[in-house]
Amino acid sequence: MFHLIIFSVFGLICIVGAVNLLVQRHPINSALSLVVVMGSLAVEYLLLGAEFVAAVQIIVYAGAVMVLFVFVIMLLNAGVEERTQGSRVALWFGVPGILVGGLLVSWVMLEQAGIQAVPVGALPGPPKTLAWLLFHEYLLPFEITSILVLIAIMGAVVLASRPESVQRSKKEA
């Protein structure tokens, strides 16, 4: 019962945050809603016993990725979203399409998989066990993602740095 209440409360916060993300027209509000979603998702993870994942969710997602978003929004001084009519397809086909798909999936889930219930802290993921998995069974993916991150860092630096010609002209000016 207690479990269900917490689940429902934070699930609701999640959904409200997600919907708020859609509704808000200023990106910084959307970003903050997303932080809220992430925070409540962390609570859901805790409910599922994935404490380490929850902590990492906060540190990486809320603490780093979203800060980066906020930083970029501030840097580019992004204003309120314009309401341009770019794509009728997205609005008239895409949204109904995804709604239908989502509803169908939810229905199937509720119909078919509703029998099993998950207790609180169903699968404790102590950091040691996870680390063992990560550095033994999943060592290769781990190393590959580390290379991916390295490449991403370099790519981001290259992309975001001003072209040399611009820098030079700035310096001369």
Binding site: G86, S87, R88, V89, A90, L91, F93, G94, V95, G97, I98, V100, G101, L104, V105, V108
Partner: protein, 645 residues
């Protein structure tokens, strides 16, 4: 195998030179380029000499296999090199004359652009020619065969910006392809019937199955087609006169001394096949004889100094084939060797003359050069006497042997001999005509101006680097025949060991033979003398006479002057139908109306379709995402519908 001679080095050395010059030569100075070309070519020559010095200690034929090449079930062809008396003679001639011409070229080409290119090609030619000569099987020989064709093409078209040179190169290449086609089919027949292309195995199979006349005849004839292409025999001789568009050293090396004799070499090499087919031999003899006569008549009327020499080359090659056709292979090779000396010399001297008068090639604008370029004159004189067949010059011995054999060989006939003698007369006539027109009388051209900027205007002797090869070749042209055909025949006997001569030798009555040989010799010398006298009469004493004669026999003269309209005939029979056919049927009919039309219409329909569909490509990410989500939804619906099965 007694010892390893590293025969493969001989062809590879010039290839290295060609690679260095071809790839890097552009940055080198002319001195470096010529040093590289000369040293690698000279190394090949030195090696050939070293090998001939070791000859007594070798067991011939000496075959060395460098590497495996093709192994398909029973058939095998390796990178194998074969050394025997025949290939040794060819080796010495090719490397020796080639080396001299390399030296000569340095002087001749010094002022030309693309110096490094020229020497790269020249070394490349040496590589292929040596491969051809040393090959131990027909396939490797074919590589050399094709390769010299390529080098010849490259060198004829050396001045590729000149239209006539470029088309002459193409002509040589294409006409050679016709011959190569015959050669190739002959190779296929050999593979099919003998299962091998090694000389030794092929000849062994031939010897063991003498009954199969038709097969041997067809192989022989096809080989002869190949030889006719490479050695400019009727009906494929037309490329050689045009090939004179190349630089003169090229004409000397490739189109006189070495490459064009490849056909003779190949026929001699395949003598076993020919000896087993009388028909093939007869065809070879007839073609040789006719070519000799035919080319000689054309040569009489030519005015371009190099063209005269070109037809003379064809004619002399005809002699060689005549010799082969009467199974006197060693005589053919003997003539090949002496011809390499004097014809190489003739071309080089002609080059020197052209060089002296500043690029002029028309003999009617020469004359009286005797005193101005004495060294060239004297060497040319030696060569002229040699080709005309005056004793004791080299040409006398070889030509005389051929004529004697033409009449006396079991396969010979008086007709060959008669035509041969007449051709000898013609040869003597047009060569002395050339000699008189060039060196005697008054100078008829303008002052050369080509060298004005180099500060030595006027007619002048060539530099030493060009004269030294001339002198050496002149020496060889004089003494080259003193070996004597008998000794030469004996030397080559192990290789060209023919059943015919083997049968004949014991039965020959040496007394009577010597007597009749003397008669034959006197007749041929007399023919040469007649030619000389006639030329002297017409072109030295009474230079106005030829004009009148030409007028009186206008029709014949024009025909001969236009080379019997053979080129025009070929154009009408082969070239034009080919061009018309490929234009109208292949290009317009098939390519444009069927293939292109199909593709064009499919492209057009694709364009129409995409023209309507491209409006979906709005460039807007969100509409793309919309389509994706619709697709995803459709997938979900499908999966739910089927229950995930």
């Amino acid at each position: 195998m007694t010892s390893n001679l590293h025969l493969w080095l001989i062809p590879i050395l010039p290839l290295i030179g060609a690679s260095i010059n071809g790839l890097l030569g552009k940055r080198f100075t002319r001195q470096v380029v010529s040093a590289i070309a000369l040293s690698f070519c000279g190394a090949a020559f030195a090696m050939a000499v070293w090998i001939s010095a070791q000859l007594s200690s070798l067991t011939l034929p000496h075959v060395e296999t460098l590497a495996q090449w093709i192994r398909v079930s029973d058939f095998r062809a390796d990178f194998a090199f074969n050394l025997d008396q025949l290939s040794l003679v060819m080796l010495l001639v090719v490397t020796g004359v080639g080396f001299l011409i390399h030296i000569y070229s340095i002087g001749y080409m010094w002022e030309e652009g693309g110096f490094y290119r020229f020497f790269a090609y020249l070394n490349l030619f040496m590589f292929f020619m040596l491969t051809l000569v040393l090959a131990a099987n027909y396939l490797l020989m074919f590589i050399g065969w094709e390769g010299v064709g390529l080098a010849s093409y490259l060198l004829i078209g050396f001045w590729f910006t000149k239209d006539s040179a470029a088309s002459a190169g193409k002509k040589a290449f294409i006409v050679n392809r016709v011959g190569d086609f015959g050669f190739l089919i002959a190779l296929f027949l050999m593979i099919k019937n003998f299962g091998s292309l090694d000389f030794s195995k092929v000849f062994a199979s031939v010897a063991s199955m003498p009954g199969n006349q038709d097969l041997l005849t067809s192989i022989g004839l096809l080989l002869m087609v190949g030889a006719a292409g490479k050695s400019a025999q009727i009906p494929l001789y037309v490329w050689l006169p045009d090939a004179m568009e190349g630089p003169t050293p090229v004409s000397a090396l490739i189109h006189a001394a070495t490459m064009v004799t490849a056909g003779v070499y190949m026929v001699s090499r395949s003598h076993v096949i020919f000896e087993h087919s009388t028909t093939a031999l007869t065809v070879v003899a007839i073609i040789g004889t006719l070519t000799a006569l035919f080319a000689a008549t054309i040569g009489v009327c030519q005015t371009d100094i190099k063209k005269v020499l070109a037809y003379s080359t064809i004619s002399q090659l005809g002699y060689m084939f005549m010799a082969c056709g009467v199974a006197a292979f060693s005589a053919g090779i003997f003539h090949l060797m002496t011809h390499a000396f004097f014809k190489g010399l003739l071309f080089l001297a002609a080059g020197s003359v052209i060089h002296a008068v500043g690029g002029e090639q028309d003999m009617r604008r020469m004359g009286g050069l005797r005193n101005k370029i004495p060294v060239t004159f004297w060497t040319m004189t030696a060569a002229t006497f040699a080709i005309a067949g005056f004793p004791p010059f080299a040409g006398f011995f070889s030509k005389d042997t051929i004529l004697f054999k033409a009449a006396n060989s079991p396969y010979g006939s008086w007709a060959y001999w008669a035509i041969g003698v007449f051709t000898a007369f013609l040869t003597s006539f047009y060569m002395f005509r050339l000699w008189f027109l060039t060196f005697f009388g008054q100078y008829r051209g303008e002052e050369p101006h080509g060298h004005g900027e180099h500060g030595h205007g006027g007619i002048h002797e060539s530099p030493k680097v060009m004269l030294i090869p001339l002198v050496i070749l002149a020496f060889l042209s004089i003494v080259g025949g003193w070996i004597g055909s008998e000794r030469f025949d004996r030397f080559l006997a192990p290789t060209l060991h023919s059943s015919v001569t083997a049968v004949e030798a014991p039965s020959g009555e040496s007394e009577g033979r010597a007597a009749s040989e003397l008669v034959f010799t006197s007749i041929s010398v007399a023919a040469a003398l007649c030619g000389f006298l006639l030329a002297w009469q017409l072109y030295h004493r009474r230079p106005e006479l030829p004009q009148r004669i030409a007028h009186s026999v206008q029709g014949i003269y024009t025909t001969v002057l236009n080379k019997y309209y053979v080129d025009e005939l070929y154009a009408a029979i082969f070239v034009k139908p080919l061009i018309d056919g490929s234009t109208k049927l292949l290009w317009h009919g098939i390519d444009r109306d069927i293939i292109d039309a199909t593709l064009d219409s499919s492209a057009e329909s694709a364009e129409h379709v995409s023209d309507t569909v491209r409006h979906m490509q709005s460039g807007n990410i969100r509409s793309y995402a919309g389509w994706i989500s619709v697709g995803a939804a459709a997938l979900v619906v499908y999966m739910v519908w089927t229950g995930g099965r």
